[in-house]
C-alpha cells in the first residue's frame, strides 16, 4: 500500500495538478486551446504548464473552436492525446460539428481500428455573474450523442482523478468543469485508488427521498439535504458524476430504498439529462416509486442576464420545494 498523500486544494488546482501529472506520465498528452499558454487559461486551470512543458505541448491556438477540435482529432490519429480547453460553455458550438460528426463517430467508422483519446474540457454552468454565453449547461446536447462520454466532477478529489481517467480513456470524453465551484476546496489523495470514471457515488445517505445531481448542483443538493434534516426529512444525495453513461444501477438501488427521486441540474429541464433519469428510473422502479420523479432545473429560456441568474438557477429553495412536492404524494 502506498503511503497516502492527501492535500487540501480547490477544484481548479486539482485539475491543474491532474493535467500536470498526466503530462509528466505520458509525453503524448498535449494541452491546447485559446489562452492556455502564458495566461494559463482564463480560469488558470493550465497555469504554469506551458512554462514547464513548452509551447510544443501546451498550445495556444488560433481563435477557432472547430479548428481546435478538428486538429486535435488529427493529432489523436497521429498518436497524441490532446486535452482541449473550450474557453466557456457557450463557445463550444462552433466545434459541435467536429465533435458529433467526427470525434464521436470515427472510431465506429473505422470499425475500431482508430482510437480518439481526446478530452474536451468545458468550464460550464452559471453562478459567476457573467455575460451571455458564459453560464450555459449544454451537457444533454453531448450526452445524447453516441460515441461521446460526458462527466462532471463535483469536488476536488473527483476533479483530480476523473481528469486522469478521462485522459487515460481511449474514448472522447467531454469533461464539464463546474466553474463556480473552481474555488471550493477539498481533500485530494493522490495515491488513492479512484472509483471508476462512470460510477455514481452516494454522497450522503438518507431514507426518505433521493436527490440526484452532478457537477455544481451536488453542493446545492447536499445543502438542501442538510436543511431538510432540520425539518426531519432524511435525503440521500447521489452524485451522478457521469452523464454518459449514467450509472442507473446506483440510482436504482437508492430509489428502491427511498422510493422517491428528485433530479437536479442547471440545464433546462425540458430534454435535460433529468428527463432520461426520470424516464429510465420510472421504468426500472415502477412499483417502488411513491411519487413521480420530479425535476428541478433551468427554464426553457436562454440563460438570463446575471442579475436574474439566482432566479434561474436551482437553489436550495427550489430543490426543497420539489422535495416537499415529492414527499406530499
Amino acid at each position: 500500500m502506498a503511503a497516502t498523500s492527501t492535500t487540501k486544494m480547490p477544484i481548479a488546482k486539482a485539475l491543474n495538478e491532474s493535467l500536470r501529472k498526466a503530462m509528466e506520465d505520458n509525453p503524448k498528452v498535449l494541452v491546447m486551446g485559446e489562452d492556455v499558454g502564458k495566461l494559463g487559461g482564463v480560469f488558470r486551470i493550465t497555469d504554469g504548464l506551458q512554462k514547464d512543458f513548452g509551447e510544443d505541448r501546451v498550445i495556444d491556438t488560433p481563435l477557432a473552436e472547430s479548428g481546435i477540435v478538428g486538429t486535435a482529432i488529427g493529432l489523436a490519429l497521429r498518436g497524441y492525446r490532446p486535452v482541449v480547453e473550450i474557453q466557456f460553455d457557450g463557445f463550444v458550438f462552433p466545434a459541435y460539428d467536429q465533435i458529433v460528426t467526427q470525434l464521436a463517430k470515427m472510431h465506429a467508422r473505422a470499425l475500431g481500428k482508430v482510437k480518439l483519446p481526446v478530452v474536451i474540457r468545458i468550464p460550464y454552468a452559471g453562478g459567476i455573474g457573467a455575460v451571455e454565453h458564459h453560464s450555459e449547461s449544454p451537457e444533454a446536447l453531448f450526452a445524447h450523442v453516441a460515441g461521446l462520454k460526458c462527466v462532471s466532477p463535483s469536488n476536488a478529489a473527483d476533479a483530480y482523478w476523473m481528469m486522469q481517467q478521462a485522459i487515460e480513456s481511449d474514448d472522447p470524453v467531454v469533461f464539464f468543469e463546474p466553474k463556480r465551484r473552481y474555488w471550493d476546496k477539498g481533500e485530494v489523495d493522490t495515491s488513492a485508488i479512484p472509483a471508476p470514471l462512470h460510477a455514481a457515488r452516494v454522497a450522503r445517505q438518507g431514507t426518505d427521498l433521493t436527490l440526484a445531481a452532478y457537477g455544481p448542483m451536488v453542493k446545492t443538493c447536499l445543502e438542501a439535504a442538510a436543511a431538510a434534516e432540520e425539518e426531519g426529512n432524511s435525503l440521500e444525495v447521489v452524485d451522478m458524476r457521469s452523464m454518459s453513461p449514467i450509472d442507473f444501477d446506483t440510482l436504482q438501488q437508492s430509489v428502491e430504498r427511498t422510493r422517491r427521486l428528485v433530479v437536479v441540474h442547471e440545464a433546462p429541464v425540458f430534454l435535460g439529462t433529468g428527463s432520461e433519469v426520470a424516464a429510465r428510473i420510472t421504468e426500472r422502479c415502477f412499483y417502488h416509486l411513491e411519487a413521480p420523479v420530479l425535476r428541478v432545473g433551468g427554464f426553457h429560456a436562454p440563460y438570463p442576464p446575471a442579475r436574474l441568474e439566482e432566479e434561474y438557477l436551482p437553489g436550495l429553495d427550489r430543490v426543497l420545494d420539489a422535495v416537499d412536492r415529492a414527499l406530499a404524494y
Partner: protein
Amino acid sequence: MTVEGTAARSTSRRSGGKRASTSRKKKTAATQPGEPQLVQLLTPEGERVEHPDYAFDPTPDELRGFYRDMMLTRRFDAEATALQRQGELGLWASLLGQEAAQIGSARALRPDDYVFPTYREHGVAWCRGVDPTNLLGMFRGVNNGGWDPNTNNFHLYTIVIGSQALHATGYAMGVAKDGADSAVIAYFGDGASSQGDVAEAFTFSAVYNAPVVFFCQNNQWAISEPAERQSRVPIYQRAQGFGFPGVRVDGNDVLACMAVTKAAVERARTGEGPMLIEAFTYRMGAHTTSDDPTRYRHDDERAAWEAKDPILRLRTLLEKENLADKDFLTSVDEEADALARRVREAVRAMPNPDSMAIFEHVYADGHALVDEERAQYAEYLASFADGEAH
C-alpha cells in the same frame, strides 16, 4: 434616446466653413522597408501626410468633431471601467486606444447604413447615436443587449466571435435585393479573423457581391494571444484570395480610418462589392476588466503605442493649426464630465429586471412550455409571499 452622437455628426457635416488649410503641411507618409503598406493621413506627431489613393481634406468642424467624438468616447469608456471597479458593472471591455479606428470608420457611414459590432464598439455606437447607457445593460447584467437595432441601425453587441460577419453579409444581401444603396459594416477583431464564420462571410459576400465592409480592428491581441497566432501574414491580405480588396490603415489615425472606410462604403454603394479594412491599432488596456495582461505582455509594448495615441495626434494638429482654442477644448472636457456623470447616474438607477422577465421574449409568438413554466414559477414565488414555504 440621447442623440449627442448624432448631433456631433450633423455638426461636422453642416460645415460650410472653409477647408482646413492643411495642404501646405502635407507630405507623403514614409513606409518602413519590409513593413506592409499602411494608409496614414496623420502621423503620430500630428503631421498631415498624403496618400495617393485616399485623399481627405476635413473641414475644421470635422476635425473638431472627431476630437470631440474621441474624447467623449474615451471618457465614457473610462467611466465604465470605473463603474466596474465600483461593482456597478460585472464586466467591461474597454476600447481604450481604438478610438480613432471606431470614430473614423463610423463617421464615414450614413444613417441608413447598418452596423454589426462586436462587444467593444462603444465609439461606433456613440457615432450612431446609441445612448451610451444602453451599452451598459449587458455589462451590468440586467439584460443581454436589449436595444432596438433599427433605431440607429446598430445591431446588438455580438459576443460569439465572428458570428456577426455573416449577419452583416446576409443583411447586405438583403440591401442589394431591395435595390437600396446603403452599405453594411461588420466589425471584428484580429482573433476573429481565424473563425470559419468570418471566412464564410468573405465567401458569401464575394459571391453575391454584397455591399458589406469588413472592418477588422487588429489591436494586436486576442486576450493573451498576439496577432501572429492568428495569421502569418497581415490580415488585410486575406481578402484578396476571396476576390475583393483589402487594405491596412493606421488604426490610430482617425482621418485615414475615415477616408478608407468612406472609400469602402462608396464601393459598396456603387455595386463593387465587399472590401476588408484592417485597422492597425492597439488595445491599450486589458482585454476586459477580468483580464490581467501583465501575465502575457510587456509594459514597453504599451509604452511604444502610447506615443501613437489617436487623440494626442489630432490634438497636436488642432493646436498647431489653431483650429481649437482653449474654450473649445474646455467645453469638450466639460461635456465629457457631464457625460460621465450622466452615465454613472443612469447606471446606478438601472433597475434590476423583474423575476418574470426570464420568460419574456423567448419567443415572439409564444410557446406552451414557456407559458407553463412561467405560471409554475409565479405560483412558486407566490407561495413565499403567502408565507407557505421554507
